[in-house]
């Protein structure tokens, strides 16, 4: 079993440096990102269709958020009528306590898990292990990552950082009676055989939720492997855990959102399995869980919700397209971020989950190139939100509205002063002329060590002649 460390990241820049120094991993991630980008592109040949779909996708998510309290109550009422037990958790600790309570009631020893990022977010495996319950990941990628004692590096493709040779070695070391073979089909069949025994033996199945439908009380889950169906059908008890933002109003909204989700995520037209779960086993039915639970988690989401601009963060449908197209993610990979959700979505979501104390480096880990916003299927303006979060983090703690956890935590007097001076110089032509004249005359005095900039780059030294001096000369020559 893996022993995972508690999330909070020691040093983002150190981890990024290490990631950039790892040639093999960089090649792997770059290759995977190129692959996913081209597959997505091929899925949307018609830009008008894509644009219309994104408008509708965004409208569906905005509608759901605008009516979130009512829809959550409708969802709860419908699910309860269907026989599903609904629980609410404000914090990861509460979510884990609910889970442990259910497990204890059934004397559970083994829990099989379908891919659930929210269970990663609350570090459920950790809590289960502490209580002596084996929590086994069953998504092939997550199973591999767990066997290696690591964490997923991508929300859709968790083992994207590993080669088949590394996986073959891992299986040889960890699984009794397995000899080295790096054929992908063989590796998958090994995983299948191990995990089928676990599915048959498990007491509890845990899953995430892609969308929860208020109209019908439906938990909608998509996947390719079938482990999600196993986890939600074979064990006596099924527990689904999700963030409070995952609700949609109408069943047919799911049909539209799913024409965006797999195409944006992995560039496939549709997933192998779309699983609509409406309740536990009814009298006379011969399989399916006897109990179905849903845990609705807040964990900072209400903070994002409270702000009209930051609320857009919750539109996310977790396709991962923003990371697949992010130049920063493509170079450092998911682990460097040190948080459950990496990449651009991780950067705008994590401050609400963890506070700026832990999540601020993520907010700065962006070039603001805008690729994430261009591909987002529900039109989240990610760069705008990043700038807003940077401002919130750097706001003067006295003046800050304190609306966000750790607002002003990154306030820096010198930085504030530098920007004041910059605004003064660049806002007034006469000052600017004087400043640039000084810079060109005394440029030779510029320091050769300019902090992080000169670690990998030549120092910035002002040119001896300004553009405004050179241009008139140029014009005379013409």
């Amino acid at each position: 079993m893996s022993t995972v460390s508690r999330t909070v990241a020691p040093d983002f820049s150190e981890r990024s440096r290490q990631a950039i120094g790892d040639e093999a991993q960089r090649t792997g991630i770059r290759g995977a990102m190129d692959f996913l980008q081209s597959k997505r592109k091929a899925q949307f040949p018609d830009p008008q269709e894509l644009s219309d779909l994104r408008d509708l996708g965004a409208a569906i998510r905005r509608y759901a958020l605008a009516n979130l309290p009512e829809l959550l109550q409708q969802l709860e009422a419908r699910l309860t009528a269907n026989g599903v037990q609904v629980h609410w958790a404000e914090t990861p600790e509460q979510a884990n306590a609910l889970m442990l309570e259910i497990a204890a009631r059934h004397q559970a020893r083994l829990m099989v898990k379908g891919k659930s990022m929210v269970s990663e977010e609350v570090e459920l495996n950790h809590a289960m292990q502490a209580a002596g319950i084996e929590a086994l990941e069953t998504d092939m990628g997550e199973y591999i990552v767990q066997l290696a004692g690591e964490k997923p590096s991508h929300i859709i493709m968790p083992a994207i950082h590993k080669t088949k040779q590394q996986i073959a070695t891992l299986f040889t070391e960890k699984l009794p009676g397995v000899s080295y073979n790096d054929n992908v089909d063989v590796l998958i069949q090994i995983g299948r055989e191990v995990l089928r025994k676990k599915f048959a033996a498990a007491d509890i199945g845990l899953s995430g939720v892609n969308f929860a439908v208020a109209e019908t009380g439906t938990l909608y889950l998509v996947e390719n492997e079938g482990n999600g169906r196993m986890c939600t059908t074979v064990p006596r008890v099924h527990v689904a855990i999700t963030g409070i933002e995952k609700v949609v109003a109408k069943l047919e909204h799911v049909a539209l959102l799913n024409s965006l989700l797999p195409r944006s995520a992995t560039g496939q037209a549709v997933e192998t399995y779309q699983n609509f779960i409406n309740g536990p086993r009814k009298p006379g039915e011969l399989d399916g869980p006897e109990e179905v639970h849903l845990i609705l988690l807040d964990n900072g989401r209400t903070q994002a919700y409270a702000d009209p601009q930051l609320r857009a963060t919750l539109q996310c449908i977790r396709c991962g397209a923003c990371m697949n197209h992010c130049p920063v993610y493509a170079r450092i990979g998911g682990h460097a971020y040190g948080t459950t959700y990496p990449g651009p979505i991780g950067a705008i979501l994590s401050p609400h989950l963890l506070g700026f104390g832990a999540a601020y480096p993520l907010v700065t880990a962006s070039t603001l190139c805008g690729a994430c916003a261009d591909v987002c299927p529900v039109r989240i303006p990610i760069p705008d939100l990043l700038i807003r979060l940077r401002n919130e983090a750097q706001a003067n703690p006295q003046a800050a509205r304190k609306a966000l956890r750790d607002s002003g935590a990154k306030h820096h007097l010198l930085l504030t002063l530098v920007w004041r001076i910059w605004a003064l110089l660049y806002g007034r032509p006469r000052f600017y002329r004087w400043f640039s004249w000084c810079a060109s005359r005394f440029g030779a005095l510029a320091p050769r060590h300019q902090g992080a900039w000169t670690h990998t780059r030549a120092p910035l030294i002002p040119a001896p002649r300004r553009l405004r001096d050179l241009l008139p000369q140029q014009n005379r020559l013409d």
């Binding site: 591999i144 590993k162 169906r229 059908t233 192998t272 399989d287 399916g288």
Partner: protein
């Protein structure tokens, strides 16, 4: 106050956004195939096959024999079927020395080990199908339980050719899903697969390794 009340209170206190109209999907034109049913069927078959499923044309009279042939080719010795339907009765009459046709009649937990280890193939009917994505719609029931289409390594599906919808939304509307959802509804678009190791596609991750569609062209709907 409970966690529920505190969460709902925080959400309700948040400043209301601009009112958002209920999105109107009427104008949404999904990537639907051409209107003709023959073209739609052709697209369905093409997409299913490109997702690594087999599609065989057959009719009301001959599909059990076709299934028998395919089962023999694939060395199926135990075929799991549902209970209480006409199709099941027809398949049970094919029970022989070489092909054991076994009916799913007891709760799964009473024979879980056998279900996981001794069944080579499962048989279900599809409720309908979707042309735009090449998908089958299954509504498992007490007659055709959920694990029948999941645990056996091979999944045979009988589909009436006329039960084809343009897309998922149309299936939801025509079949009125919103008012009569079963315990579990499924949309299946191929055999189980994964690309989790180096983006290399492999079939048979946890569910069926093979999905075999018997496309029944007769218009007589079996009761």
């Amino acid at each position: 106050m409970s966690a529920r009340e505190r969460i709902l209170a925080r959400l309700s206190q948040a400043s209301a956004s601009e009112p958002q109209p209920l999105p109107n999907l009427e104008h949404w034109q999904p990537r639907v195939p051409p209107a003709g049913s023959a073209e739609r069927l052709a697209l369905f078959k093409e997409l299913m096959r490109s997702a690594h499923a087999e599609v065989h044309d057959t009719d009301e009279q001959t599909w059990p024999e076709l299934l028998l042939d395919l089962a023999r080719q694939k060395n199926v010795r135990t075929l799991l079927v549902g209970n209480g339907t006409d199709s099941v009765a027809r398949l049970q009459s094919l029970d022989s020395e070489t092909l054991h046709v076994m009916s799913y009649q007891r709760p799964a937990e009473q024979w879980r080990a056998a279900l996981f280890e001794q069944v080579d193939a499962g048989f279900t009917q599809a409720k309908s199908a979707i042309a735009a994505t090449g998908s089958l719609v299954l509504w498992p029931s007490s007659q055709e339980p959920r694990l029948l289409s999941l645990v056996p390594p091979i999944h045979f599906v009988l589909l009436e050719a006329h039960a084809l919808h343009a897309d998922l939304r149309e299936a939801m509307r025509v079949e009125q899903w919103a008012t009569q959802m079963p315990t579990n509804a499924l949309v299946i678009s191929g055999p189980s697969k994964t690309a989790d190791i180096q983006q290399t596609l492999a079939y048979g991750a946890h569910g069926p390794k093979e999905l075999i569609v018997l496309l029944c062209h007769s218009r007589e709907v079996s009761p």
